[in-house]
């Protein structure tokens, strides 16, 4: 059991987890958006460390990553800012494997741990190539959060369930990050995760509106909202406006909890 495992199992007993996604370094004051979202009821923060070639991301997050890279955002600079901000909710970093590989796996795990990062999602790291990273990360008490996709057969879901720490990222559809018109295959994917393990299952990929979030929350243990928020920031929303948006998502999730 990692710290993240413990915290999120505890969270599950209380409410549906709201996980907004931010791109580290997208704006100079990006951590104020994080703080605002925590104020508005975010339970876990996913922080993207930008990579030049974000294979699992759609146009919105691609554009955001490019802007952040233009602002000279790096793994170190983002960790530095996270460290300084010292948020009280768990921080889960999302980045591509080359960023960690290049910095060094052990060095990365240590840096992330020291910066208060509880877990890491590496979308281009499926279980086949996971071990080296998961081993050093686990040693530093940094969780490896893994994805299950609609295409994952039951046997893979079982193995992913065994290996995923903190939560399982249940991809609602066969698509990269972006905005969609429904919750896709969330129900089937979460069902498979539930059948395979007891780890909390959070629904992500394409969750755009509060209504989707509510529906996804009736299915899973939490909801990840990415592009819909990044788009707002790219469009110039203030931290206060973002806080309002998060509050809306919060209410939708709480409604789902009360329905359950």
């Amino acid at each position: 059991m990692t710290s993240l495992d413990t915290r999120l199992r505890d969270l599950r007993t209380r409410r549906k987890a709201l996980v907004p996604y931010f791109i580290g370094g997208l704006t100079e004051d990006w951590t104020t958006y994080v703080s605002a979202s925590i104020l508005a009821g975010a339970d876990v923060i996913e922080v993207g460390v930008p990579f030049s070639d974000p294979m699992m991301d759609g146009p919105v997050i691609q554009a955001g990553a490019l802007r952040a890279l233009g602002n000279a955002a790096t793994l170190e600079s983002i960790c530095h800012e996270l460290s300084a901000a010292s948020f009280e909710v768990p921080i889960v970093v999302m980045t591509y494997y080359n960023v960690l590989h290049h910095f060094g796996l052990e060095r990365s795990a240590e840096l992330l741990a020291q910066s208060g990062v509880a877990g890491v999602i590496v979308p281009d790291l499926a279980i086949e190539e996971l071990t080296p990273w998961r081993d050093v990360a686990t040693a530093a008490d940094v969780s490896s959060v893994l994805m299950v996709a609609p295409s994952s057969p039951d046997e893979r879901v079982r193995r992913i369930g065994e290996l995923s720490q903190g939560f399982v990222y249940a991809a609602a559809r066969m698509a990269v990050t972006g905005q969609a018109a429904d919750v896709g295959d969330a129900s089937r994917v979460v069902g498979a995760v539930r059948a395979a393990c007891d780890t909390p299952a959070y629904v992500g990929i394409g969750i755009t509106t509060a209504e989707h979030a509510r529906e996804a929350a009736t299915i899973g243990d939490g909801v990840i909202v990415g592009s819909a928020l990044v788009q707002r920031i790219l469009d110039g929303a203030s931290a206060q406006e973002l806080e309002g948006a998060i509050s809306t998502f919060r209410r939708a999730l709480d409604q789902a909890s009360s329905e359950a």
């Binding site: 294979m55 080359n98 590989h101 994952s152 066969m174």
Partner: protein
């Protein structure tokens, strides 16, 4: 089966390189493809159909040509494996025929592909047309403008070309986009990758489909009385033509030389990293961000190299050298004028190294097999502009 260039391990690793670094959503497809390829490649009927299609449709075997006038000029004996004579003008057809047949065998009805200059896109559209598969090609927006005629060629062949507007809007981004799209349509669509790159089983599978080059060449050289050439030389973008020809000589005493573009030299300037589903040598900055390659030749404009090449470099079994844009045009002219073969700009890199190394790194009287990976028709307009000082 070659001992040095054997199959990768079960996870698709060549030494410390290769592997499968893809989203979980694509892993089942990669596993399915691995199983399907292993099954097909072990099935004599499939292998026969692959060879039959290459023979009856693709123009194989391509000849080996003794380059007498070049040899005399350089004081060495140069033989060229003539992939420029394969259908669509380069070795690319070998791979796409294999993958298209495999697509049909897997019950899929559509292929997608990335392309830079358009050669692989044209080849894929060609094989798809021949087999009645739907085809969509992703191409960086910048490249769709630079290579407008190849876009039209693909469209003539019935393919849809999608301009990619992300990132640097060139080849690297076209691969990203193809992978992103593949996630959405993997059930009925095969991603027909264009070189020995990407996640396992692609680097291995593409090398196997290209190894026909080396196997043929080894036999053909014997007809010229050459048992083992001293050098086997090929240009390297992703590395598929090089892997294909090396495969025929990896277990021999021949020195294997891969020639990269100086501005895209993943072995010379790159570091180990992970991109496009594979661990390999990549051009990257201090923070692991991938850098753009730059080369006069669009087909070598790739910041990485196939993982097996990284491994062969590690082993010291193959050596990778680089030549600059400046000597490439000259090499293209020399081959054209001495031998009546206008090579592709990619191929001209290998020629340029021959011109530089003959009598030096290549001792006098050595026997050299040059993989003439493609013809230069596609490049003639560009070369003309360059020689006229227009670009």
């Amino acid at each position: 089966m070659s001992a040095v260039m054997g199959p990768p391990d079960a996870g698709g690793h060549f030494g410390t390189f290769g592997g499968r670094f893809v989203p979980e959503a694509l892993m089942p497809a990669c596993l399915e493809l691995d199983a399907a390829f292993r099954d097909a490649w072990g099935d004599p009927d499939f292998v026969a159909e692959y060879h039959r299609t290459l023979r009856e449709f693709g123009g194989r075997p391509t000849p080996v040509t003794y380059l007498g006038r070049l040899s005399e000029r350089l004081g060495i004996s140069v033989y060229a494996k003539r992939e420029d004579l394969a259908h669509t003008g380069s070795h690319k057809i070998n791979n796409v025929v294999g993958q298209a047949l495999l697509t049909r065998r897997m019950g899929k009805t559509r292929v997608i592909a990335e392309t830079g200059a358009g050669q692989h896109g044209v080849a894929t559209a060609t094989a798809a047309a021949r087999l009645g598969l739907a085809c969509t090609v992703y191409m960086g927006e910048v490249d769709t403008v630079r290579q407008a005629l190849n876009v039209f060629r693909m469209e003539l062949l019935g393919a849809t070309v999608v301009p990619v507007t992300s990132g640097s809007r060139t080849l690297k981004d076209a691969v990203n986009e193809a992978l992103r799209e593949w996630v959405t349509c993997v059930a009925d669509t095969h991603y027909c990758i264009g070189s020995v790159m990407g996640p396992h089983p692609f680097p291995w599978m593409v090398r196997e489909f290209q190894s026909v080059i080396g196997v043929e060449a080894a036999n053909q050289l014997r007809e010229f009385g050459v048992t083992t050439p001293d050098f086997v030389v090929a240009c390297v973008g992703g590395g598929s033509n090089a892997a294909g020809v090396f495969a025929g000589f990896a277990d021999s005493s021949a020195q294997l030389i891969g020639v990269e573009a100086a501005g895209g030299s993943a072995v010379g300037l790159g570091m180990p990293g992970v991109l496009h589903g594979m661990r390999s040598l990549l051009l990257q900055d201090d923070h692991g961000q991938i850098e753009e390659a730059y080369s006069i030749s669009a087909g070598l404009d790739y910041p990485g190299i196939g993982p097996e090449h990284a491994h062969l470099a590690d082993l010291g079994r193959a050596r990778y050298v680089a030549v600059g844009d400046d000597v490439v045009i000259e090499a293209l002219q020399v081959l054209s004028q001495l031998e009546g073969i206008i090579p592709a700009l990619e191929t001209a890199h290998a020629v340029a190294w021959l011109l530089r190394a003959a009598g030096d790194e290549i001792p006098a009287r050595s026997t050299v097999l040059l993989n003439l990976s493609g013809r230069g028709d596609k490049d003639v307009a560009q070369v003309r502009s360059i020689l006229r000082g227009e670009s």
